[in-house]
């Protein structure tokens, strides 16, 4: 009704909003953006942590793009891992959540089972998987050999290492399942009942009611899993150490080893800026498409 430019903000509403957002704003400024700016500024310096800081302008960036043999490999590896992991874990967790949302016996038990991997400490998870994937002593290869096949280099070839690690990421997506489950429970029952009376079968109800009502949650899960998978580091840190080749040399791992292990803090900061831009691009794409497919039940129709 009101023209866009003429929205009149209610003073009370504005005050309430800022009050509610006060802790978040403090957090955003003090524990995110100020340190982040400090870190970005650092990318213009050469600094080994203990010695003098030297201003070198854009040298870190130039070097990254023109003179780092691992940068592009790292970029591709990160994208490949994120692509497989995001698709895999969204589909997997949606299926599991839908199955768990039905009236199956021992539902509580099953829910716990699929959530369990997410609870485990990373150290144990990756070690456990290493013993399964291992080329010489691993269980998978033992079974493959028993079946008459030849051993597979799950983690020991640059081609297979990313998919193998992605599989672990899918297995670990218990958090997505929980969020989907909570979302499924927020789908208003009355919609289903109304549709049932109108004679819609469960398939139709799934596509016409469940999915549209779930789009905000799907969007959230997509975003969260995209961002966290682009920031992947633990599999490389606790299992494959970046190799073979750049097969698991994820950007975040590169950042970490350059900054914290090799003490090239300026260079590491430059990588973090690139990573920031990369994730921002993907997030931007996701947000710009969101208007066309997300259905908000209680949208504020701004």
């Amino acid at each position: 009704m009101s023209k866009r430019g003429m929205i009149r903000y209610n003073r009370q509403e504005t005050r309430a909003a800022w009050l509610l957002l006060l802790p978040s704003v403090i957090g955003l400024i003090c524990i995110t953006y100020l340190p982040m700016l400090a870190s970005f500024a650092l990318s213009l310096f050469s600094w080994n942590g203990l010695g003098e800081m030297k201003f070198i302008g854009l040298d870190n960036y130039i070097r990254l793009f023109t003179n780092d043999s691992k940068f592009y490999g790292s970029l591709l590896t990160t994208l490949e891992y994120a692509g497989i992991s995001v698709l895999g874990s969204i589909v997997y967790s949606m299926i599991i959540a839908l199955l768990l949302n039905r009236k199956v016996p021992a539902r509580g038990f099953f829910r716990a089972v699929f959530y369990l991997p997410y609870v485990l400490p990373a150290l144990a998870v990756y070690l456990g998987w290493k013993w399964l994937y291992d080329f010489n002593h691993g269980f998978f290869n033992y079974v493959i050999k028993l079946a008459g096949g030849t051993s597979v280099k799950f983690l020991d070839s640059s081609a297979l290492v990313t998919p193998s690690l992605s599989l672990i990421a899918v297995w670990l997506s218990g958090n997505l399942i929980v969020i989907f489950l909570a979302g499924l429970q927020n789908v208003p029952r009355t919609y289903h009942e109304a549709a049932e009376i109108d004679g819609a079968n469960s398939w139709q109800r799934f596509w016409k009611i469940t999915i549209p009502c779930m789009t905000p949650i799907i969007f959230y899960n997509l975003l969260m899993s995209l961002v966290s998978n682009l920031q992947v580091i633990t599999p490389a840190l606790s299992l494959t150490k970046g190799g073979p080749g750049t097969g698991s040399y994820f950007m975040c791992y590169m950042l970490y080893t350059q900054a914290f292990k090799s003490h090239k803090y300026g260079y590491g900061s430059a990588i973090s800026v690139i990573l920031f831009v990369l994730i921002a691009i993907f997030t931007g794409i996701l947000f710009s498409t969101s208007g066309s497919w997300i259905f908000y039940e209680g949208d504020d129709r701004e």
């Binding site: 340190p35 010489n136 209680g298």
Partner: protein, 293 residues
């Protein structure tokens, strides 16, 4: 006459639907069992490893069952893995941090989802923007700041940040859930004269309880496993958390993997308990949320 015909047609349609639903239920159950077995396998593998000696772990062929069920591994592990002590330390950090995160994230998420105010778009963009960087990037600047405040050897740096919105992800999650709550509910309340805070507490919070539990769960696990921060701020053995405690089996010369596995199996029990407690609210959520009124 015509009434009876439609009646039987309807009931037979109902019956066939019931049959189909029953068949679907069975298929789902079978699928679930299969998937559950696959998902459980690596966990079983970890558990089995906790019952083996270090030498047996590397033996070939890998033993599907431990050659000898060494439950004594657990008693051995508990001798140096001060479980209750570490658990108490962990809880000292986790309980306030999780509570703070859930409360402040709910406040923020509600404001972003429902309230109209100047600067909202900008603030929301900032909020989303803060997700784009891994937390390790801010580790050193924050550590310097905390040590200037003289708090770098305390639990405060591990707790206080979570009182600031609990992280953009959680604010965003709450926002998404608030948006699935029909607007008619709070419009009705506004007409009844409720202010924004009362709407939040009496309308929104009951409706998104399951999401708040989820935030709590995610935060709990995130902090549970957050080694990088804990390593930086906790240096004294008597202040160790469970996540740090797992490292006491990693020596300067060799790692005691079977003890690490024992400690792992012990350390995720609280996570599971917390999940099972929270799960109750999910089930309740079905009845309570949505169009109850």
């Amino acid at each position: 006459m015509s009434q009876t015909v439609t009646g039987t047609a309807k009931s037979s349609r109902m019956a066939s639907r019931h049959r189909r639903e029953r068949a679907a239920d069975i298929i789902c159950l079978v699928l679930l069992i299969l998937l559950a077995l696959i998902v459980m396998f690596p966990i079983y593998w970890i558990f089995r490893s906790s019952l083996m000696s270090n030498a047996e772990l590397y033996a070939y062929p890998p033993a599907f069952l431990p050659p000898e069920w060494r439950f004594s591994n657990y008693t051995e592990t508990l001798k140096s893995f001060e479980y209750l002590h570490f658990l108490m330390n962990t809880m000292t950090i986790l309980v306030p941090a999780v509570l703070g995160a859930v409360v402040t994230a709910t406040m923020g998420g509600y404001a972003f989802a429902r309230l109209r105010f100047r600067g909202k778009k900008f603030l929301f963009t900032l909020c989303v923007g803060s997700m784009l960087l891994p937390s390790m990037v801010t580790l050193i600047p924050l550590f310097i700041a905390w040590s200037r405040l003289g708090l770098s050897n305390t639990y405060w740096p591990l707790i206080l940040p979570h009182f600031c919105g609990g992280g953009a992800f959680n604010i965003f999650l709450i926002r998404q859930f608030v948006k699935t709550v029909p607007r008619e509910l709070d419009e009705a309340a506004t007409i009844d004269g409720c202010g924004f805070f009362r709407i939040l507490v009496f309308i929104i919070v009951p409706a998104i309880k399951s999401a708040m539990i989820v935030v709590g769960l995610l935060k709990f696990i995130e902090l549970w496993n957050d080694l990088l921060q804990q390593v930086t701020y906790i240096t004294r053995r008597d202040k160790y958390t469970l996540a740090l405690g797992l490292n006491i089996f990693r020596g300067s010369f060799n790692d005691d993997w079977s003890s690490i596995m024992c400690a792992t199996c012990l350390s995720f029990i609280p996570g599971i308990v917390f999940y099972l407690l929270g799960q109750r609210y999910f089930v309740e959520g079905i009845v309570m949320t949505g169009m109850k009124n």
